[in-house]
C-alpha cells in the first residue's frame, strides 16, 4: 500500500467527518475545528445516565425501606397504621431526593469543568455553547428542563396508557398523539444541520466531541531524519534532489508521517517501493525506515521552505 493509495479510502472517511466539523472562532480570532457529537453517542450517553440515576434511586429506596422496616419493628406499629413521624420523615426525604437527583445529576455535572455527565464522559462528548459564547448556568438549566417533555413525559404517559388499555380501558386517540409527540422530538436532531434537540435550541447549546490528543514525538530528532542523521543500519546518508522531492505534496507528506509513527514494517516496505519507483531509484531492501525518515525530513523541509514564501503544494497533482 502506498501513501497515495491510502488516500482515497481516507478521504471518504474525511468527507463523512466533515459533515460534523464546525469551526469555532476564539476571541483571539483563531479558528478551531470542533466536531459535533454523533446522534448515536448522545443516545448512548443518555441511556447510561438514566440507568445510573434510576439504579441509584432504586438502591436508595431499598435502603430507606429497610430502615423504615426497622423503625416499624422497633416501635411495634403495624405497617398499615398511620405513618409515624420517622417514617413520614423518610417519605419526605425520598420524594425530595428523587426530585433533587433527577435534576441535580445533570445540572451539577454539566456545569462542572468537564461540561458533561458521567454518561457523556464515557462516550467522550461534552456540551458547549453554540458559537463562541460562554456556557452559562441558565443554558444548562434550560436544556435539562426541556429533556422532560422531549423524552420522559411522553414515555411515561405512553406506558401509563398501555397499562390502561391492557386493563381494558378505552384510551381513544391519545396513544397516537403521545406516540407522535415522542417521535417528533426523537427525530428532531435529524432535521437540523447541527443535530440539535429541542433543549439545545432553547438553551443555545450543542454537544461536541471531546478531543484529547497526546503530543507525539518530534520526528526530525530521530534516526535518519535528524540534522546529521544517517541510517543506523548501513550508515548511509540519503539525500534527495529537488526534482525527486517535487513529486509529492502536503497530503502525501502527512500520510507518510502517519505511517512512520504507526510503524508497520510491511506497510513501510510497500511505501518505500512506491516512492523509489516514483522518483526513479532502484528499491533496495532492509533499510526502508531510514530511507523514509530521510525522505520525510527533506520533503518537509522543502515544502515548509516553500510555505514561507507563500507557496503551498496540496498534493501530488497540484
Amino acid at each position: 500500500m502506498s501513501p497515495t493509495a491510502a488516500i482515497p479510502a481516507r478521504s471518504s472517511a474525511l468527507a463523512r467527518d466533515n459533515r460534523r466539523t464546525r469551526t469555532l472562532i476564539t476571541p483571539e480570532g483563531l479558528a478551531l475545528p470542533i466536531t459535533i457529537a454523533s446522534r448515536g453517542s448522545r443516545a448512548a450517553a443518555l441511556v447510561i445516565d438514566v440507568m445510573i440515576v434510576v439504579f441509584s434511586l432504586v438502591i436508595f429506596y431499598l435502603v430507606l425501606l429497610w430502615v423504615a422496616g426497622g423503625l416499624l419493628d422497633s416501635t411495634k406499629i403495624s405497617a398499615d397504621g398511620p405513618p409515624g413521624g420517622a417514617t413520614e420523615f423518610l417519605l419526605v426525604i425520598f420524594s425530595l431526593i428523587g426530585f433533587a437527583t433527577w435534576y441535580g445529576y445533570f445540572l451539577v455535572q454539566e456545569l462542572g469543568p468537564r461540561g458533561a455527565t458521567l454518561g457523556k464522559r464515557m462516550v467522550g462528548i461534552r456540551i458547549a455553547a453554540r458559537g463562541s459564547a460562554r456556557l452559562t448556568p441558565e443554558a444548562v438549566i434550560a436544556r435539562n428542563l426541556l429533556r422532560d417533555i422531549e423524552i420522559f413525559y411522553p414515555l411515561v404517559t405512553l406506558f401509563t396508557l398501555l397499562a390502561l388499555s391492557n386493563a381494558g380501558e378505552d384510551i381513544g386517540p391519545l396513544g397516537w398523539v403521545m406516540t407522535a409527540w415522542f417521535v417528533l422530538f426523537l427525530l428532531f436532531p435529524f432535521f437540523n444541520r447541527d443535530r440539535l434537540r429541542a433543549g439545545d435550541i432553547v438553551a443555545g447549546t450543542w454537544v461536541v466531541e471531546r478531543t484529547r490528543t497526546a503530543l507525539a514525538d518530534a520526528l526530525s530528532t530521530k534516526g535518519a531524519a535528524a540534522a546529521e542523521g544517517a541510517s543506523e543500519l548501513t550508515g548511509v546518508r540519503y539525500s534527495f534532489g529537488d526534482a525527486e522531492l517535487a513529486v509529492y505534496g502536503e497530503k502525501e507528506l502527512q500520510t507518510l508521517e502517519r505511517m512512520l509513527r504507526d510503524a508497520q514494517p510491511e506497510a513501510l516496505k510497500a511505501v518505500h517501493d512506491t516512492i523509489c519507483r516514483k522518483i526513479g531509484w532502484q528499491p533496495g531492501a532492509g533499510d526502508e525506515r531510514a530511507f523514509l525518515e530521510a525522505f520525510y525530513a527533506q520533503l518537509r523541509a522543502r515544502l515548509e521552505a516553500d510555505m514561507r514564501f507563500g507557496k503551498r503544494k496540496a498534493d501530488k497533482y497540484s
Binding site: 426530585f99 441558565e138 525530513a297
Partner: protein, 359 residues
C-alpha cells in the same frame, strides 16, 4: 516570529526544554521543541482543572493559565503557517480547544450562581418577562371566568373539569356543611410533611411542563393555564352557590398566592420562548430562542423554589390555621412579598452578570 516564553516569568512549572533541540533538522520542529514545555504545562493545568475543579490548582498556575492559553493559541497560529507536522497541529488544536473550554467556560459554579440568582438575577429575569406575564395573567383570569360561566350554564361541565373520584364531596348539590368541611383544618400535623413533599413534586412537574410546552409557540402553555384556571372557576362557582366564596378564597389564598404566581410565571416563561420563536425580531430564530430560553430558565428555577414554599404553606398553615381572616393575612403577606421582591427589589447587576435584559 517568536512567541514569548511565558514559563520563564514564573519559577514554578518551568519545564526543561528537551536536550536535543539542536538535533532537530527542521526549523518548524525546533519551534515546537522550544515551546513544548509551555504546552505540556498548560495541558497539565487543564487536565487538573477538568479533574477536580479549581481547589487543587496552585495560584500561580491559575494566574499563568490565560497567558499559557494565549501562548498555545499563538503557537497554533504560527504552526499552521510554518509547520507541516500533522501530529503537532492536531495536538495543538485539541489543547487549545480544551484550554478554551476552561478559560471561557462557566466561570461560576452552581453555588455562586445561586447566590447571584437570589440577590437580583431572579427578579431581573421576571421583570424581563413582563409582557408575557401580562398575557399569561389575562389568560388565567379569562380561564377562571370561562370555567365559572361554563359550569353555571351546564352542570355537566363540572364533572368534565373535575372527574369526581369516590368520596368526593365537592360536587354540585353538596350542602353547605359538606363544603365547609373540606375547608376545615386538620387536628394534627401528622402526615402533612409527606403531603407537602408530594405536592411539591407534583406541582413543580406541572410547572416544568407548562414551561417546556412553550416550545410549541406557547400555545400548549396557554391551554394548560386555561384548563387549570377553569377548574378554579368551577370550584368558585360551586362554593358561591352556598355563599362560601370568601371562605374558599381565604382557604386558597394561603398557598394559592404563591402557587398561582408560580404557575403564572412558568406559563409566562413558556410563552416567552414560544413568542420569541414566532416573532424573533432582528435575530435569527435560533439565537432568539436561545436568548429567551436562558432568560426563562432563570425564572423556572425560581418557580421551583416558589413551589417548595407553596407546598409547605399548603401542608401546614392552610391545614392548621383556621379562620378566613388569619388565612387572608398569610396569603396576602406572601403576595405582597413576591410583588415587592420581583418589582421593587432592584439591586444593581453584579459585574459578570451574563443575563441579557429583554429589549
Amino acid at each position: 516570529m517568536k512567541a514569548p516564553v511565558i514559563s520563564s516569568w514564573f519559577g514554578r512549572g518551568q519545564v526543561a526544554a528537551p536536550p536535543d533541540i539542536e538535533s532537530a533538522a527542521l526549523r518548524s520542529d525546533r519551534f515546537r521543541l522550544e515551546r513544548e514545555g509551555d504546552w505540556r504545562r498548560l495541558e497539565d493545568i487543564v487536565r487538573r482543572m477538568e479533574g477536580g475543579g479549581l481547589k487543587r490548582i496552585a495560584d500561580d498556575d491559575l494566574i499563568a493559565l490565560p497567558a499559557l492559553y494565549r501562548t498555545a493559541a499563538s503557537s497554533l497560529a504560527v504552526a499552521r503557517e510554518t509547520s507541516l507536522d500533522a501530529a503537532t497541529l492536531a495536538y495543538l488544536e485539541a489543547l487549545v480547544q480544551r484550554a478554551w473550554f476552561q478559560v471561557y467556560g462557566p466561570r461560576q459554579g452552581f453555588v455562586r450562581w445561586l447566590k447571584d440568582f437570589l440577590l437580583g438575577g431572579w427578579s431581573r429575569a421576571v421583570r424581563a418577562l413582563w409582557l408575557d406575564i401580562c398575557i399569561a395573567l389575562f389568560v388565567m383570569v379569562a380561564g377562571a371566568i370561562v370555567g365559572w360561566l361554563l359550569v353555571a350554564s351546564d352542570e355537566a361541565w363540572f364533572y368534565r373539569l373535575f372527574p369526581a373520584g369516590a368520596g368526593e364531596t365537592r360536587v354540585p348539590g353538596a350542602s353547605r356543611e359538606e363544603l365547609l368541611k373540606t375547608l376545615a383544618t386538620e387536628d394534627s400535623a401528622m402526615g402533612l410533611s409527606a403531603f407537602a413533599a408530594q405536592l411539591f413534586s407534583n406541582n413543580s412537574a406541572v410547572c416544568i411542563l407548562a414551561f417546556a410546552l412553550g416550545f410549541a409557540f406557547g400555545i400548549p402553555s396557554l391551554m394548560l393555564l386555561v384548563h387549570n384556571l377553569a377548574m378554579l372557576g368551577a370550584l368558585l362557582w360551586l362554593f358561591d352557590g352556598q355563599g362560601l366564596v370568601v371562605e374558599l378564597a381565604a382557604w386558597l389564598s394561603v398557598h394559592g398566592t404563591t402557587e398561582l404566581f408560580g404557575i403564572l410565571l412558568s406559563g409566562a416563561a413558556g410563552l416567552h420562548i414560544g413568542r420569541s420563536m414566532a416573532f424573533p425580531g432582528n435575530l435569527p430564530v435560533l439565537e432568539a430562542a436561545a436568548a429567551a430560553g436562558r432568560r426563562s430558565a432563570v425564572v423556572m428555577v425560581g418557580v421551583v423554589i416558589m413551589m417548595i414554599i407553596a407546598a409547605l404553606l399548603e401542608a401546614f398553615p392552610r391545614q392548621l390555621v383556621d379562620g378566613a381572616d388569619s388565612r387572608f393575612v398569610i396569603g396576602g403577606t406572601m403576595l405582597t412579598f413576591w410583588l415587592a421582591y420581583f418589582f421593587l427589589y432592584r439591586p444593581r447587576p453584579s459585574g459578570d452578570a451574563t443575563l441579557p435584559e429583554a429589549g
